[in-house]
C-alpha cells in the first residue's frame, strides 16, 4: 500500500510513523493521567503540570484549549487523548462531538439516527462536493 493511500479519507488522521514521532511526548503526557495523583496535579495547575513533558508550545496550547482536532494534527492519538476527557469527567461522546463541529446534543442525535452515513463520507472529493 502506498503511504498516501489513506490520505484521501476525509476528516481522518491515521496515526502513522510521522504522527507517532511528532506526538510522542503529548501522548505520554496523556498516559501519565492513568495515575490518580497525576490527574490531581494536572487539575490543580495544568500549565505547570504540562511543563513536566517536553512538548511543543503548540501542543501545550491545544491541551489547555481542549482542542482535540488540533491535538490530533500535532501527533495526538485518540486512544491516548481520551484520557484527558476522562480526567475532565466527560463521557467520550462529549470529546467526539467536540471534533465534529456539532453540539453534543446534535451529535448524540446523529448517533441515535444510526450514525454518520458512509455514503458521501468516503473521499475528500465527496466532501469538497458536499461543501460546494
Amino acid at each position: 500500500m502506498a503511504a498516501s493511500a489513506y490520505d484521501d479519507i476525509p476528516g481522518t488522521t491515521v496515526f502513522d510513523a510521522k504522527h507517532s514521532r511528532a506526538g510522542y511526548h503529548l501522548n505520554m503526557f496523556c498516559m501519565s493521567l492513568m495515575k490518580a495523583e497525576n490527574r490531581k496535579a494536572f487539575k490543580a495547575n495544568e500549565v505547570d503540570y504540562l511543563k513536566r513533558f517536553p512538548m511543543t508550545d503548540d501542543q501545550r496550547a491545544a491541551v489547555l484549549e481542549r482542542d482535540f482536532n488540533r491535538m490530533i494534527e500535532l501527533g495526538g492519538n485518540i486512544y491516548y487523548l481520551a484520557k484527558i476527557g476522562a480526567t475532565d469527567g466527560h463521557a467520550f461522546q462529549y470529546v467526539a462531538a467536540s471534533m465534529t463541529g456539532m453540539t453534543q446534543e446534535q451529535y448524540a442525535q446523529m448517533m441515535l439516527n444510526g450514525g454518520r452515513d458512509i455514503e458521501g463520507n468516503r473521499s475528500k472529493a465527496e466532501w469538497a462536493k458536499k461543501n460546494g
Binding site: 500500500m1 502513522d16 501522548n27 492519538n77 486512544y79 463521557a91 461522546q93 450514525g115 454518520r116
Partner: protein, 279 residues
C-alpha cells in the same frame, strides 16, 4: 487434549462498562444492548469452557508508545483491571492460565509467529467489557483467561490475513496441549466506528453485515480486506475488526453461525456480536 469448543466476537465499547458500573443497564438506551446478549449468556452457561483466549487491543493502558508489540500474550497468574483515567473498573481480577499460555507462546513462536511474552500486565475495558457481556457481573469470572493483545493503535496494525493465520496457529497450539481443557476464543473490537476528527460517528451497517456473513460464508475473502479499506469503509477505529479474524482462524474450516446481534448506536459505535461453533 485441549480443544476449541467455540468462538465469539463482540464490540468492546467502554461506555458499556460505564453503564454496568453506574447501574444504568435498565435504562431505555441500554436495555436493548444487554438484551442482545441474553441468548449468549445461556449458551455460555451450557458450554462451560475452562479457559477463554481473549483477543483484544490494549487502549494505551498496559502498553504506551514506549513499547508497541504487534502481538502479545499474557502468561501471568492473574491480571488486574487497569486505571484508564477514572479509576480501575470494579470487576474481578482476571485469573490466567500460565501453563496453556506458555504452551501457546512456545508453539506459535516455533510456528513462526513472533509473540511478545507478557508476565505483568493490567487489562482494560477491551478485555473486561466482553467478559461482562458474556458472563454478567459475577464475583469471580467463571473461567481462566489468556489475554492476547493486538496492536491496532499505532498504524499499521497486523493485516487481517496475518491475524487469521495466527488464529490457525493458536488452534494447532491448543490441540497439542496435553490437558483436557475446553477453550473458548473471543475476538473483540469494532464493528464500524470512528472516534476521531470531523468524520467521528461514522457507521457502516452494510460493511458490518457483510463482515458478519463472511465469517461463515467466505472468511478467506475477509482476510483480503486491506487496511485502507477498513479505515475508509468501517471508520478509523473499525480496523479493530482484524481481531475477529484471529478468532475465526482458530475455529478451523467448517463453522456454523449459532447467533448474531447488531445494534446502532452504542455511544459512538456500531455494536456487533456473533457466536460460532466449529464442526
Amino acid at each position: 487434549m485441549a480443544r476449541i469448543v467455540g468462538g465469539v466476537a463482540m464490540s468492546h465499547v467502554p461506555a458499556i462498562g460505564a453503564a454496568i458500573d453506574n447501574g444504568k443497564t435498565g435504562e431505555p438506551y441500554w436495555r436493548p444492548v444487554f438484551a442482545g446478549f441474553e441468548f449468549s449468556r445461556k449458551w455460555l452457561d451450557a458450554l462451560k469452557p475452562d479457559v477463554a483466549i481473549i483477543v483484544y487491543n490494549d487502549h494505551a493502558s498496559a502498553f504506551s508508545l514506549d513499547i508497541i508489540p504487534t502481538f502479545a500474550i499474557g502468561c501471568a497468574d492473574e491480571f488486574a483491571p487497569a486505571d484508564e483515567g477514572w479509576g480501575p473498573r470494579p470487576v474481578p481480577v482476571v485469573k490466567g492460565h500460565p501453563e496453556l499460555a506458555w504452551h501457546i507462546a512456545e508453539s506459535t513462536i516455533l510456528d513462526e509467529f513472533d509473540m511478545t511474552i507478557v508476565n505483568k500486565m493490567e487489562v482494560d475495558h477491551g478485555l473486561s467489557v466482553p467478559l461482562n457481556l458474556m458472563c454478567g457481573s459475577p464475583q469471580a469470572w467463571p473461567f481462566a483467561v489468556i489475554p492476547i493483545c493486538v496492536n491496532v493503535v499505532q498504524f499499521p496494525p497486523p493485516t487481517g490475513h496475518r491475524c487469521y493465520t495466527l488464529g490457525m496457529a493458536i488452534r494447532r497450539a491448543v490441540e497439542s496441549f496435553d490437558q483436557d481443557l475446553r477453550v473458548l476464543v473471543f475476538g473483540t473490537g469494532g464493528m464500524s466506528h470512528q472516534l476521531q476528527g470531523p468524520r467521528a460517528g461514522l457507521t457502516n451497517k452494510a460493511f458490518d453485515y457483510a463482515f458478519l456473513d463472511g465469517l461463515t460464508k467466505d472468511p478467506v475473502a475477509l482476510t483480503k480486506i486491506q487496511p485502507v479499506e477498513y479505515l475508509r469503509e468501517s471508520g478509523s477505529e473499525g480496523i479493530e475488526l482484524v481481531m475477529w479474524l484471529v478468532m475465526r482462524g482458530a475455529l478451523g474450516d467448517h463453522v456454523e453461525e449459532v447467533y448474531r446481534f447488531h445494534h446502532i448506536p452504542v455511544s459512538n459505535s456500531s455494536l456487533g456480536h456473533i457466536i460460532l461453533e466449529s464442526h
